[in-house]
Structures are given as C-alpha cells and as structure tokens.
C-alpha cells in the first residue's frame, strides 16, 4: 500500500515542479522580452531626441543654405509626422526612430519626439544607413523659417534648370546627381523637369508625386520634391501660422520705431496677408502677389525698414 503511495507521489512532485517551473520560466521570458523592448524603445526615443539636436546647426542664419550627411552604424528608419492643429498656432512635427536589429528585423518604433520650432520636409519614412540633410531659408518678404529637407537614397535630376543645379552643387549634396540622359538613372529616384515617365515630375508651379500635386514657389520646390504630400501641405500651413505670428511682431516693432520718427504704412499689407486663410499649397502659393507688395512697402521705408 505504502509502495503504491510513493509511486503516486513521485509523478505528482514532477507534475507540480513542471507546472510551476514552466510558469516561472514563462514569467521570466515575458519579463526579459518586456525589458528588452522597453530598453529598445527608450534608446530609440533618445536617438530621435538627439537627431533633433543635430538639426539645430541647419538654421541658416544669413547663409543661403547648409547641408550635411548623417551616417548611422546600421540601417535606420526615421518616421515623420506633422500636425498643424496641435500646439496652436504653430503646429508641430514628430520624429520617431527605429533600427535594424539582428537577423535584419526592424525594431519597434521608438517614442515620437516633438519638434515645434522646425519645419522638416521628408517622406513619412526615411530609411537607410545614410541620411542627407540640407536647409534653405524661406522668405515671405522677411525670413519666416528654415526649410529642412531630409532624404536617403539616390535622386537623379533630369533636365533641371541651371539655377537649381548650381544651388545643389554649391551645397554639395551627395545623393543628388544631374543628368541629361535618363538611362543614367537606374536604381535612383527620377526627378524630371519634363514630361517623361518619372517618379517625380516638376512643372513651373507644381511637383507631381504619387499622383498628388504639390504647388510651390521658389525654394519650396526642394521641400515638395523630398517631402510626402501630407508633410508638405501640413508644413505650409505651419509656415503660414509662423508668418502670422511674425507679422504681429513686426507690427509691434513698427509702433516702437514710430517713437523715433519712423513712420511706415506696412501694417496694412501685413494685416492683409495675415487675415488670408489657406487650406492648401495652391492657396499658399497664391499669397505671392501680396508678398511682393509687402516687400515693396518695406523697401520704400529706407532708413526705417522693419526687416
């Protein structure tokens, strides 16, 4: 009888140990996985925050543009989102970061870090080991902000105007080549100033990409080429909001300098543009006529120019 009992107790011990052991092991594996993913997320969030700091030197100041290349040790993905409704009136953008891990598997996206004082024009996801960044100042009579363009991969500019070629070559941007033969563009994103079958088509006032039209004027052409249409349209609305706030600063400055005998009538032109609402890049570009008038008013002020 006793022998029979011990025969029963042995399997029970084993079953008990197995169940509890499995539970502990499962808990440990779950904990370790969670720990790794949390560490990974915090690391990626930190990387995104550091990347934003790296964009500060791209403030052009009085320069006509700046460029640089950022190299990563392994392939990375940066995610760009834009929201014109948050952080009123300026809107905001977010950057998130992810990296290729062992076995060519992409790690989970890190926490999105917010940028409120920069205007980054990029595709929704920029992927690669090298990232090419360049910036151009954007003026609406006075300087409004710096346009920061981020891209990876090679771009082939076909039949680009001379001034664009000169500007890009002066900035020494390594991932853009100019060609007069589309046959040299194999494996590259083709950007054409012609009717050829290219990924990106540029006309006199529009950039057509993924069947979407983005209207541009001046240096916004670079923003439209390197940006997704969502980021482009959203950033133009943010730029208009920035113009509105800056116009208030200049209106107040006008009142201050009037104390020193400086009288100008720029206020009316500033108000006119500020009150114009825009809902698309087409409407944004249409502000140009009023901006030219504003520029003329400021130039006429001679010693009392506001900017």
């Amino acid at each position: 009888m006793i022998k029979n009992k011990s025969a029963v107790s042995m399997p029970f011990n084993w079953i008990f140990a197995l169940i509890v052991g499995a539970a502990i092991l499962a808990l440990a594996i779950y904990g370790a996985t969670k720990f790794i993913s949390t560490s990974e997320e915090s690391l990626y969030t930190e990387s995104a925050a550091k990347l934003i700091s790296l964009l500060d030197p791209f403030e052009t100041g009085l320069a006509s543009g700046k460029s640089a290349q950022i190299n990563f040790k392994s392939p990375t993905r940066t995610f760009y989102e834009c929201d014109e409704f948050s952080n009123q009136p300026f809107g905001r953008q977010t950057i998130a970061f992810s990296e290729q891990t062992l076995g060519d598997i992409w790690g989970d996206k890190g926490g999105a870090v917010t940028i409120k004082n920069k205007y980054v024009f990029a595709e929704n996801i920029v992927e690669g080991e090298n990232m090419y960044v360049f910036s151009k100042p954007y003026f609406m009579s006075f300087k409004v902000a710096d346009l920061i363009m981020i891209s990876s991969g090679e771009y082939c500019f076909y039949q680009a105007p001379q001034e664009i070629q000169e500007e890009i070559e002066n900035l020494n941007i390594a991932n853009i080549v100019f060609t007069k033969d589309l046959g040299n563009c194999t494996g590259k994103t083709r950007v054409c100033w012609s009717n050829n079958d290219c990924e990106i088509k540029v006309t006199a006032n529009r950039v057509v990409k993924d069947n979407k039209e983005m209207y541009y004027s001046g240096d916004l052409v670079y923003a439209a080429i390197f940006s997704s249409s969502e980021n482009y349209e959203c950033n133009l609305k943010r730029l208009k909001s920035k113009f509105n706030e800056l116009s208030l600063v200049y209106s107040d400055k006008m009142k201050v300098i009037q104390r020193y005998g400086c009288g100008t009538s720029i206020g009316i032109d500033l108000d006119l543009i500020r009150t114009q609402k825009i809902s698309s890049s087409k409407e944004f570009v249409s502000l140009e006529t009023n901006i030219e008038r504003l520029d003329a008013s400021n130039s006429a002020a001679k010693g009392c120019k506001l900017w």
């Binding site: 009085l62 009123q88 208030l248 600063v249 400055k253």
Partner: protein, 177 residues
C-alpha cells in the same frame, strides 16, 4: 498510516508553495531594484538630452527670424518688446525660460535688475521673454549683440550693445511628475 502520509504530503506541498512564493518575491524585489537603477539613469539621460537641445538651440537662436536684426548673432531689441507680450511663443522653443540681459546688468543681482516693458524701454536691464516657472531648472547663457533703432539730429541709426541670452532647461528629477 494513511493520515500520516497525507499530512506529510500536505507539508511537502506547503513547503514547496512557500519556497516558490519566496523565489518569486526575491525575483520581484531584485527586478524592482534593477528597474529603479535603470529609470534613475533614464531621468539623467532625459535631462542630458534636454540640456544638449537647449545648448544647440541657444547658439542659433539670435539668427532666428523672431530675434534677428539682420546681422550675424545680433538680436533686434525692438522685436523683444513685442515677443514679451506674445505668450504664444511659450511652447515654441525647447526652453523652460528665456531672458535677454543687457551688458549693463551683468554685475547686477536679480533684485537690482529693471525688467523691460513698453513704458520703460529702452531704459531697462532685462527682457523676460517667458518663464514657465518650473520647479528645477538649469540655465545656459550665450553672448549676443543687442541692437535697436535710435535717433540723433533726425538721423535714424542702429545702436548696439553687448547682451546675453539666458535659457533654462527643466531638470527631470526622480519623483517629479
């Protein structure tokens, strides 16, 4: 005999259960200890990143359209008066506070400094652009040229003096929300 064996088995199960509870408790405590160390480092690195961001931003701030007088590293004092009244900029820059202090006030204490306003400008010492009044803050400063329009014999010219930007970074400390 049957009663004895049952009791022995029960004791064994009880012993094992206590042992398992003890092991789990040990691992939970050890895990919490490790996590507290890791998260305290996380606060440090968050502060480091925020300070780096303040430092990189402040060096280029004078050339931004809100401040620039049109020359390198030069701030337009006439714009500052307007910016001080525009509270929308509080959440625009990555600083917890932003002050422009004129050179004449470098040796003055905070109590001695005369804050600029539309009524006393330009006879004042510091422009308080904004202050989020955070609990813990570390400041970084950067020298700039501060220029404003001035008249002499009906001639308008730019009068410039040395000044500094003082930008604060909120320090993330353990226990802060």
């Amino acid at each position: 005999m049957r009663y004895k064996i049952n009791r022995k088995a029960q004791l064994k199960i009880q012993e094992m259960a206590f042992f398992i509870v003890a092991i789990i408790l040990f691992f939970v405590l050890a895990g919490l200890f490790v996590l507290s160390i890791i998260f305290s480092n996380l606060y440090d690195s968050a502060t480091d990143v925020a300070e780096q961001r303040t430092l990189s931003s402040i060096t280029n701030l004078a050339d931004s359209p809100e401040f620039s007088c049109g020359k390198p590293n030069c701030v337009d004092a006439d714009k500052l008066i307007s910016l001080m009244q525009n509270k929308k900029y509080v959440n625009f820059w990555p600083f917890s506070s932003l002050i422009v202090r004129k050179g004449q006030a470098f040796n003055k204490t905070e109590a001695e400094m005369v804050e600029c306003s539309l009524s006393n400008y330009p006879e004042c010492d510091a422009f308080n652009i904004y202050d989020k009044n955070v609990k813990n803050e570390r400041t970084i400063s950067s020298y700039i040229a501060l220029c404003r329009k001035e008249t002499e014999n009906d001639f308008v010219y730019d009068k410039c003096e040395i000044a500094e930007f003082i930008a604060g970074t909120e320090l993330k400390l353990e226990g802060d929300d």
